[in-house]
Amino acid sequence: MDLGVITRNAGFIFGGLVLTFELAALAITGGLALGVLLGAARVSRRPWLYWPATAYIHFFRGLPLILVIFWLYFLLPVLTGRNLDEFTAAVASFVVYEASYFAEIVRAGIQSTSRGQAMAAAASGLTGPQAFRLVILPQALRNMLPSLTNHAVVIFQDTSLAYVIGLREFLRRVNLVDAREARSMELYLFAGVVYLVLCSLGALAAQRLERRSPWLSGARRND
């Protein structure tokens, strides 16, 4: 074991971790935004909303993420005639792909809010879209907070796939240092530990959210 390889390259490697966090933050916010729209369309009674959203979700959930990254990075330039830089390509792939997962979580959340809430919203004079935005969606998202957090952790791990198009995020940089210094054991164990610590914190947060029952906290707020 020669842990010097990590201290010697710490600046370079942790610079990649910053990029990993940027990727994850953009992927999570973008994916969630698109996922909410798709999830809402999935419970819509209008067929022109329901069917395209359902097709989108089944399509992307049937593909490996790595293939979606290839589609956007190598093939979008062919289709549009404009070049896409690695960062934009990676973020765009994560957003379109993870949205299909977020959509199913949001859909489950919407379906788990009680019917009385929708009726009460309608009775107090809110229009359909208002009721959805102000009453149903906030409750759906709060009920689904543990699942959403868990999926955010998955996305954080998935950002390592940006490796395949040469984006210098955390894992790519570890890999580059390994190519130069041939210290696979130290470097990959180190990468594993860094991800393990960060993702365990996320998983712990999800667990605590789960334990704090949303129904109870909602009831308390109304008292």
Binding site: F70, F74, L171, G192, C199
Partner: protein
């Protein structure tokens, strides 16, 4: 407008057709072997997490959080680049001489071990939903703990968890594409390989996508049939 000459024949003309066929086959047997490992290991880890002795339970918990909270790609690189370094020098030489497709086996092992951590969680929640009478009856009839799990509880849990286990299988099958990063010639790698030779990426990536989608949808249909056959009578039919 689109400035691109389509040439779909890259998908079947020699030598690319044979490459694609081999790639698809590799995807199929790599993910099936990894799945077999994941199912056996996952059931064992799930059962370990149910044991009354705390150290054993913690060991199972550590397995799950270790392999779930690190990216699969890091694990794959570990098994491929770092794990052989654990062997002695002669052991490493033996490995390189006698296991020419080590990348493939690292892929099977890595994918199996990673997927097992997810399958274990499905088994654990299924163990919790087995009626307590089943546990009592199994132990009352004199089965040892291992017998009770092997003969009664694991088969029961498997049937309960089948829908979520199918989802995990699809994830396992899609994750097999990551084996391309260590050089395994599976479907995705073949597609980008043929693209490198022919510059017909649109065709090859379309083909690869269709392979994954059709395999995934086949599995969903097949597992629907299996689920109906293996349904436990007397339980409410669970919605999928």
């Amino acid at each position: 407008m689109l400035n691109y000459d389509f040439d779909w024949s890259v998908l079947w003309r020699a030598p690319y057709g044979a490459m694609f066929a081999r790639g698809v086959l590799t995807t199929v047997h790599l993910s099936l072997l990894a799945w077999l490992l994941a199912l056996v290991l996952g059931a064992c880890v799930g059962a370990i997490r149910m044991q009354p002795w705390p150290p054993l339970r913690r060991l199972g918990g550590a397995y799950v959080s270790l392999f779930r909270n690190t990216p699969f790609l890091v694990q794959l690189f570990f098994w491929y680049f770092a794990a052989p370094l654990l062997l002695s020098e002669s052991g490493q030489l033996w490995l390189y001489d006698n296991v020419p497709d080590y990348a493939y086996w690292a892929g099977v092992l890595g994918l199996g071990i990673y997927t097992a951590s997810r399958v274990a969680e499905q088994f654990r929640s299924a163990f919790f939903s087995i009626p307590r009478d089943q546990y009592r009856a199994a132990f009352a009839s004199g089965l040892t703990s291992i017998q009770a799990y092997r003969l009664v509880l694991i088969p029961y849990a498997f049937r309960l968890a089948l829908p979520t286990i199918t989802t995990e299988f699809l994830t396992c099958f899609k994750n097999s594409a990551l084996a391309m990063t260590i050089g395994v010639m599976e479907t995705t790698h073949t597609a980008s390989h043929v693209e490198a030779f022919t510059s017909h990426g649109l065709e090859t990536t379309t083909a690869a996508s269709l392979v994954y989608l059709s395999l995934a949808w086949t599995v969903i249909a097949a597992m629907g049939a299996v689920e109906r056959r293996l349904r436990i009578r007397g339980l409410l039919a669970r919605r999928r």
